[in-house]
């Protein structure tokens, strides 16, 4: 034996093995990843993959069959309703397991277990917001209902049946890349997923930002900057509707007016849901359609991700037959239609999360001052495990209001302050949102619809409904606190009960429309009513989309589904319609340089449409943001952060009302600036910034906006970037950079339902599948797929590409 060469060579061999078995290159060993029989190559799904299978699970009660169509949409037929949810759970897991788990880990404040201390602040904030506490409360109520308990149990069993069938080779790609394993699903995870949606849709408030604004501006200025109602508001329930007097009258605290001004907030949320998490929905009655049948449309605007939040499917059993978009993570169809009716949602956007400043007895936080005495806090230990460092136990104090989210040990984005804020969030209360979807899937008529949505507490939604019998309706549904005027707009004192929520608005006072004379219902996150509704609604509602949708719908007749597609993807910028004249009127062309004149012409000749190739849209968008900066930056420069900026509509309406709007003047300059001065300055700043882009493609709206659908890890390789699509904020086609219509659906309730839909993703969550992003280009092009409500006698239809049989 040649000892020395043997040892040297052995050292090299072992070195190589160790090297490729470490996490030096990636979070998982490179050798393991690239080994073709178990690593990532195994996730390269054959392009002609046949998903057919015969599967047996002892827990099933009967038989179920899944028919996959050519878009990989499963049509599930089950003898027993529970088996339907088992199969739904199995399919969600088969195609979307990684995202389901990641979203629920994130909801539970456990993201650090996967990505390490990167997510530490995120996890602490979510724990302190009481996400797990909220999910546990809801789970109790969900499981108290036998039908929901059965559906959740079956769903969970289906997810776990899939997880238990996984081998090292069939593990989803992201687990391999990040080097971890899925854990078992549970009903709590479904509850956590729903709380995540509550966070996304009912977790956006501006209480800190508004408190800082109030502490900084005089009362007159504050009222000018943050009016409760916009002039241009066209509410969801039309103006002039008569409301009964309030059955519940919340009493404002006596000491209300004595809240000290100058009490700035010293914390800042580390994570904040997008302000534009909103949506459009509308339904027209048969009197306005060509077929004579109602048409319902919905497009929820959410963060655009791959894999998508949505998974399209049909669920069919003896008791119901529904089609639409489902949430991987929860049973039932969420937005869709059945054989009798269709349903869709937009976000209510009411403020259901308020903060109270807590006075602790001392640093131990064991007691806090409440109603004239020291009251004991309860502690909840939150253990945060991290993949890359030792675990951390966060002790969260709970008060009568809720958890103390921010205190001396945690201030969100900020270095630790000395103030303590407890959070009162409607989503902490027990509720059973799954029952709404379960009952809507079964709904046959208007009465079933109203009974179903009564279970919707949080997040509050505007629920559109249309039925084959001709009914259309919309309820601005949810369980909302009855607030005295201004309650919860700012951080409130937490030293006594006078600032607490006193009662909920009774369900029978929910503003709604049922078969209105105008022949349509619609909502686009605007304020639900005008000021005659007897309850306080807060001030955080965008106005423009609702305005243009109602204008269009009012003018339309003989409507076809194709007309609705054109409306859903319409790029008309109604906000610019209001704002552009201000610039055209106040900028004197004679004062412009030749270069500036070119941009002015683009603005002047713009057709007010945010179309893909529009250059005017780019100029206007930039000009508007520069104008806002010119008007407000001087006043806001010294304001405590974070601070809320006025709504866009507020500024444009103020200037249309009064060209001598006081904030136009630059307080840092000796002279008094006028509106023409501000417009010119903003325009010059715009040209300065746009000039380097040249006059070619880079100036075109879609290129400039640069819409993308990113993988949940943000990895560019798994994302779809630079998508040529128009639209934007304040446009019906509300497609922003990474946010927009996450599912477009149109349902014409003719005898034989005619439905269309598309979402920016694909049915498979596997980046190695051709179904990963197969809908993206169709979505970008503003096109739709025909949604096929399959019947049992169509099993030999050529659209059926695979069959999966389930039995016990």
């Amino acid at each position: 034996m040649r000892i020395i060469p043997f040892i040297l060579s052995a050292i090299v061999s072992i070195f190589l093995i160790v090297l490729f078995n470490t996490k030096l290159f990636l979070p998982a060993p490179l050798g393991k990843l690239l080994a073709p029989q178990q690593g990532l190559w195994q996730n390269a799904e054959p392009a002609n993959e046949d998903y057919s299978a015969s599967l047996r699970f002892p827990g099933l009660k009967g038989k179920a069959t899944v028919y996959f169509d050519e878009r990989l949409v499963p049509h599930v037929f089950a003898d027993q309703e529970d088996d339907l949810y088992f199969v739904q759970g199995f399919l969600h897991a088969k195609f979307r397991l990684w995202q389901m788990e990641l979203q629920t880990l994130s909801a539970a404040g456990r993201a650090s277990e996967v990505v390490g201390k990167l997510a530490f602040n995120h996890d602490r904030e979510f724990r302190r917001l009481g996400m797990v506490y909220a999910a546990e409360n809801s789970l109790k109520q969900m499981e108290a209902n036998p039908a929901i308990k059965a559906s959740c149990d079956a769903y969970t069993a289906g997810v776990n049946a899939y997880i238990n069938s996984l081998s090292a080779a069939s593990l989803p790609l992201e687990y391999k890349l990040l080097g971890y394993q899925p854990e078992q699903w549970s009903n709590l995870k479904t509850a956590l997923f729903l709380k995540y949606m509550s966070y996304d849709l009912a977790g956006h408030d501006q209480d800190f930002e508004m408190t800082n604004a109030k502490s900084f501006f005089s009362k007159e200025d504050f009222d000018l900057l943050y009016p409760a109602i916009q002039d241009s508001l066209d509410p969801i329930i039309p103006k002039g509707t008569i409301y009964a007097p309030a059955a519940v009258a919340p009493k404002a605290p006596v000491a209300l007016d004595s809240i000290p001004v100058g009490n700035a907030v010293v914390v800042e949320e580390a994570y904040k849901p997008d302000r534009d998490n909103g949506s459009n929905n509308w339904a027209v009655s048969g009197s306005k359609t060509k077929s004579g049948a109602p048409i319902l449309c919905n497009d929820p605007h959410l963060g655009l991700n791959l894999p998508s939040l949505w998974y399209e499917m049909q669920l069919s059993t003896g008791s119901f037959n529904a089609y639409g978009a489902s949430f991987p993570g929860a049973p039932s169809i969420i937005i869709g239609f059945n054989d009798s009716c269709a349903f869709g949602f937009t976000n209510g956007g009411r403020d259901v999360r308020d903060y109270y400043e807590i006075k602790f007895q001392d640093d131990t936080r064991k007691a806090y001052w409440f109603n004239g005495a020291w009251k004991a806090t309860e502690f909840r230990m939150e253990k945060i495990n991290m993949s890359d460092s030792a675990s951390f136990v966060d002790t969260v104090a709970y008060t009568v209001f809720g958890p103390v989210m921010y205190d001396h040990s945690f201030s969100g984005k900020r270095t630790n302050g000395t103030k303590n804020y407890a959070v009162r969030w409607k989503a902490h209360d027990a509720s059973n949102e799954l029952l709404i979807f379960n009952q809507l899937n079964h709904a046959k008529n208007y009465a079933d619809y109203t009974a179903a949505i009564a279970y919707l507490h949080t997040p509050g939604q505007n629920v559109a409904f249309a039925c084959k019998n001709g009914d259309i309706a919309l309820y601005t549904q949810g369980e909302f606190p009855a607030k005295w005027k201004g309650q919860g707009d700012f951080v409130m004192p937490g030293t006594d009960s006078s600032y607490m929520w006193q009662a909920m608005i009774p369900q029978n006072e929910t503003p709604f429309q049922y078969n209105p004379e105008r022949g349509f219902i619609s909502s686009a996150n605007q304020r639900p009513t005008d000021s005659t509704y007897p309850y306080y609604l807060g001030r955080e509602y965008p106005t423009p989309r609702g305005l243009i949708i109602n204008r269009r719908l009012a003018a339309m007749s003989q409507i076809t589904p194709a007309d609705m597609m054109a409306l859903q993807t319409d790029n008309y910028n109604v906000f610019a319609e209001m704002a552009r004249p201000v610039f055209l009127k106040n900028i004197n062309e004679a004062n412009l340089t030749a270069e500036e004149k070119k941009y002015f012409d683009l603005l002047k000749n713009w057709d007010l449409r945010n179309d893909i190739h529009s250059k005017g849209a780019t100029v206007f968008t930039m000009l508007w943001s520069k104008f806002r900066a010119v008007v407000f930056d001087d006043e806001y420069a010294k304001a405590p952060q974070p601070v809320a900026l006025p709504f866009e509509s507020t500024l444009v309406e103020a200037i249309l009302r009064d060209s001598a709007y006081k904030f136009i003047d630059n307080i840092n300059s000796p002279q008094k600036e006028t509106l023409p001065d501000a417009c010119l300055a903003a325009f010059q700043n715009t040209v300065k910034e746009l000039s380097p882009l040249g006059m070619a493609t880079a100036l075109e709206w879609a290129t400039y906006k640069d819409t993308r659908v990113k993988h949940l890890t943000k990895l560019p390789a798994f994302s779809r970037l630079h998508l040529p699509i128009g639209g934007g904020t304040n446009v019906i086609n509300a497609t922003k950079e990474e946010h927009g219509p996450s599912w477009r659906m149109i349902v014409s309730l003719t005898q034989q339902t005619e439905a269309y839909g598309v979402y920016p993703g694909g049915q498979s969550g596997n980046p190695g599948s051709r179904y990963y992003d197969s809908f993206v280009d169709t979505w970008v092009a503003g096109k739709y797929y025909t949604l096929w409500m399959m019947t049992k006698d169509q099993t030999t239809d050529p659209r059926v590409k695979g069959q999966m049989h389930f039995s016990n």
Binding site: R2, L34, P36, L715
Partner: protein, 122 residues
């Protein structure tokens, strides 16, 4: 002849091992095969390298072709910062080949030098 026998054995046994055992079993297989089918060091290295280079390269090519290279486009961009499926296959084959090659080389040193053996016999 022995060279091709070694290549074939290493590839076949590694394929079987790859179905259930950890990826580095290719090194154990290469070591064991060369220990039983002795080759000169250089031949041993190339036999083992070639066996796994071909096995891993071939398997990834086969899988990726059926996949129309959807995954390889994305993953090559992710890992190699370069949208090139072939490059990902080459990297896969190289890593496997190198690990097996050195394991095979190590095994070739178990026996004394062939020239020495013949001189002693002579």
């Amino acid at each position: 002849m022995k060279f091709f026998l070694a290549v074939l054995l290493i590839a076949l046994l590694s394929f079987a091992a790859g179905l259930y055992l950890p990826w580095w079993m290719i090194a154990v297989v290469a070591f064991a095969v060369i220990a039983f089918v002795p080759l000169r060091p250089l031949s041993a290295f190339f036999a083992a390298f070639l066996a796994i280079f071909l096995l891993w390269g071939g398997l990834s090519l086969y899988i990726s072709t059926a996949n129309e290279h959807v995954l390889a486009h994305r993953v090559s961009l992710l890992i190699l910062k370069l949208d090139n499926p072939v490059a990902l296959m080459v990297v896969t084959a190289l890593i496997g080949g190198l690990v097996a090659g050195f394991a095979g080389l190590t095994a070739s040193f178990i026996r004394p030098r062939v020239e020495t053996v013949s001189r002693l016999n002579g």
